[in-house]
């Protein structure tokens, strides 16, 4: 008995001593499905790296953005790995707030990352964040309603076709709206959609001299088309709808078409939560024949703040979570359809993934169709498809988003909203020193 107690005591002491030596890293992330899955699978990482412990901090997207910005700007050192988006990476890398990821390992295969995605996460040829999952936007539509309307969705539709189809699919008596689009104000909500849409109309936020362009006919055409389309065929109270609200409407069979993030495909085709899972078709985001489509490009990525004391352990984790082996791990546990999409070319070349994810090809085509460095028809002085990668954009984008949301709600006219957007953008650019 005494020997057993002694052995147990020694074992416990060893375990405590080991725990004291193990390095712990803190990872800040969002509560998206793929991120939650990663947390569940970390036993694989800790088994391979027993000297590293993982602490997770999961926050709502806006709170996460505010928390990590505060921490990184003040060098608070609270996080060793941060989940950030394509918008933050170039800005933070230029401020030297992020460490370049140059020790991801020999078998990491950086060249396998989809070029459009890695381009948005690199500055001066150096990768500053590793993509965990990437997305573009495309059209999700009800095949049964399209057939009932007597139409066939082309792989690459035009905005005129979307309008025609929406008009025919709208059936107010049965609660079906022809089209559901984002209307909720915010730089990452309605302005992500409208900025991407405006690219296909030839509009741009700024000309080469940073002069705002909301007074140009391209923006008038974009906003007028959007407001008219939503008034005729959109859901009631559309100015309050963001991603989640439209997802709920589509899953309940209340939308004929929904143009939004490609990551939504796995939600709308999931029979557990979607009443229309077996009736969904996919097409590229619409265009107007000007050579640019209305789709965006985004990647939730893992980056390491410059203030961390545990860079080596953090990079090991980033390498594990964004590797090809991780996608295989997810596939072995939860099936290929749940592998994090939009980051690696090898995933899209995998026949098993192609079979499990019918939206795979359309997702890859959409991602490849977006060019963050040349997002619209005319030249621009900024990087970003559905955003402008400058620090002022969060505030300005949300202000313009509120004006456009008000126009959708009928609280102001399209002309008034554009005039106010022009004034707000001019003031912000002058204050920021972009316009002398």
């Amino acid at each position: 008995m005494k020997l057993r107690t002694l052995t147990l005591g020694l074992l416990s002491a060893s375990a405590l001593a080991f725990a004291a030596h193990a390095e712990s890293i803190t990872i800040a992330t969002v509560n998206n499905g793929d991120m939650v899955r990663m947390q569940k699978l970390t036993d694989d990482f800790t088994a391979k790296n027993p000297d590293i412990q993982l602490n997770w901090v999961t926050l709502e997207e806006n709170v996460l953005r505010e928390r990590v910005t505060t921490d990184i700007a003040t060098k608070g050192g609270q996080y060793d790995v941060m989940t950030i988006g394509t918008y933050e990476v170039p800005i933070w890398a230029k401020q030297s707030w992020l460490l370049p990821l140059d020790k991801l390992g020999d078998d990491y295969d950086t060249k396998d990352i989809i070029p459009a995605i890695s381009g948005g996460l690199s500055v001066d040829g150096k990768l500053y964040a590793a993509p965990f999952y990437g997305e573009s936007s495309f059209v999700m539509y009800r095949k049964d309603l399209m057939e009932k309307a007597g139409l066939t969705m082309p792989d690459a539709p035009t905005w005129d076709f979307i309008k025609q189809a929406a008009d025919k699919m709208t059936d107010r008596a049965n609660g079906v709206n022809g089209v559901c689009l984002r209307g909720k104000a915010g730089w990452g909500e309605n302005m992500a959609f409208l900025t991407a849409m405006s690219n296909s109309f030839g509009a741009r936020w700024f000309d080469e001299n940073w002069k705002p362009q909301f007074d140009q006919p391209e923006w008038k055409n974009t906003l007028q088309f959007y407001v008219d389309l939503m008034k005729a065929d959109g859901p009631e109270g559309a100015s309050s709808n963001g991603f989640n609200e439209n997802l709920a409407l589509f899953q309940q069979g209340k939308c004929g078409m929904w143009i939004d993030a490609t990551v939504a495909a796995s939600f709308v085709s999931d029979p557990k939560n979607s009443t229309v899972a077996d009736k969904v078709g996919y097409a590229l985001a619409p265009d107007n024949g000007l050579g640019k489509r209305g789709n965006w490009l985004w990647a939730w990525s893992l980056a390491i703040p410059a203030g961390t004391q545990k860079a080596e352990a953090a990079e090991k984790f980033v390498s594990w979570a964004t590797s090809k082996a991780y996608a295989e791990l997810v596939a072995s546990k939860e099936g290929w359809a749940n592998a994090p999409p939009g980051t690696r070319s090898s995933l899209y070349a995998n026949p098993e993934y192609q079979k499990a994810a019918p939206f795979a090809k359309m997702t890859l085509d959409s991602i490849n169709a977006a060019d963050p460095k040349q997002p619209t028809v005319k030249p621009v002085p900024y990087v970003g498809v559905q955003f402008v990668a400058i620090p002022e954009f969060q505030g300005l984008g949300t202000t313009v988003g509120q004006l456009f949301s008000a126009a959708l709600a009928g609280q102001s006219s399209v002309d008034d909203a554009l005039k106010q957007a022009q004034d707000a953008a001019t003031a912000a650019m002058t204050e920021g020193g972009y316009i002398q």
């Binding site: 998206n32 499905g33 939650v36 999961t58 928390r67 989640n244």
Partner: protein, 274 residues
């Protein structure tokens, strides 16, 4: 002349009170109902009758350990309340029994600090916490919660103390009681209902505080507010899980409030009717 209360008046008043109470309580009730739905049920519009699944609760518990957050909430709310009382009782005593011509101004100034939006001082506070090593520490957050609730605690205690006749304290002094004995053995026992209700209210305020508790913590000191925040998602529907997390977070404080409602109401209405 007092107006007669007829049975009809009483019935109408009771019905009105019930309606108001239900309106106030309904969001909490619907959160609890939603927590017993599947995610698909949760998005299918208004429905008061859930399928009764416990799926969300088990997923919430599996995804992030509830008890660590719960323990932090208890420690932070009780700790900050004790700290607040230690500072506020002498302050309120001084202002109630030895007022100066500036006492009212000081009270107003204290209250005015509650009128400033918290986000305005986020950066200075964050830098102070960083430089003093208080980020993600329970003691740092206890001090923060104590400071933000202190004006209310001082105001409430001041109101209660003002109701206690000063002559009783004078009598104690004449019997040779020291200042310490006067506060501990004479004033405090007489103000117990007031102190108890102040304590309860402060615990509730500290329990529900979400701005600072989310922004100054990461893993070690994070309370239930951070636990709820982790279930909100920009991409994906997690309404049932979010409701389950909210129910788990508010249940302890709701139960405490239910059992102590008599003391709370007595304390809050103390001195309201003479």
């Amino acid at each position: 002349m007092a107006r007669a209360v007829t049975p009809q008046h009483k019935t109408i008043a009771t019905a009105a009170a019930w309606i108001v109470a239900l309106l106030i309580f309904f969001p909490i009730l619907y959160t609890v109902i939603t927590s017993f739905k599947s995610e698909q049920e949760a998005i299918q519009g208004f429905n008061l009758f859930p399928s009764g699944t416990m799926e969300s609760y088990s997923e919430v518990q599996a995804q992030s350990g509830y008890f660590k957050f719960f323990l932090n909430s208890v420690l932070l709310s009780v700790g900050s309340t004790i700290l607040a009382l230690l500072v506020a009782i002498p302050a309120a005593w001084s202002m109630a029994f030895s007022p100066t011509k500036r006492t009212k101004d000081i009270l107003m100034w204290m209250l005015s600090t509650k009128m400033m939006p918290a986000v305005a001082v986020l950066f200075p506070i964050y830098l102070i916490f960083r430089d003093t090593g208080l980020l993600d520490s329970r003691i740092g957050l206890m001090i923060m919660l104590m400071l933000i609730n202190l004006p209310i605690v001082v105001w409430m205690l001041y109101t209660y103390f003002r109701e206690i006749p000063g002559e009783i304290l004078e009598a104690a002094r004449m019997d040779g009681a020291s200042l310490w004995n006067e506060i501990v053995y004479v004033l405090t026992p007489m103000a117990v209902p007031g102190i108890a209700s102040t304590m309860l209210l402060n615990i509730i305020l500290a329990w529900n505080e979400a701005f600072w508790t989310i922004r100054l913590t990461t893993t070690e000191a994070a309370p239930l507010t951070a636990f709820i925040s982790s279930f909100s998602s920009p991409q994906g529907l997690f309404w049932a899980k979010l409701s389950a997390a909210s129910t788990l977070a508010i249940a302890p404080i709701l139960i405490m409030g239910w059992f102590s409602q008599k003391q709370l109401v007595r304390g809050l209405t103390f001195g309201a009717v003479k």
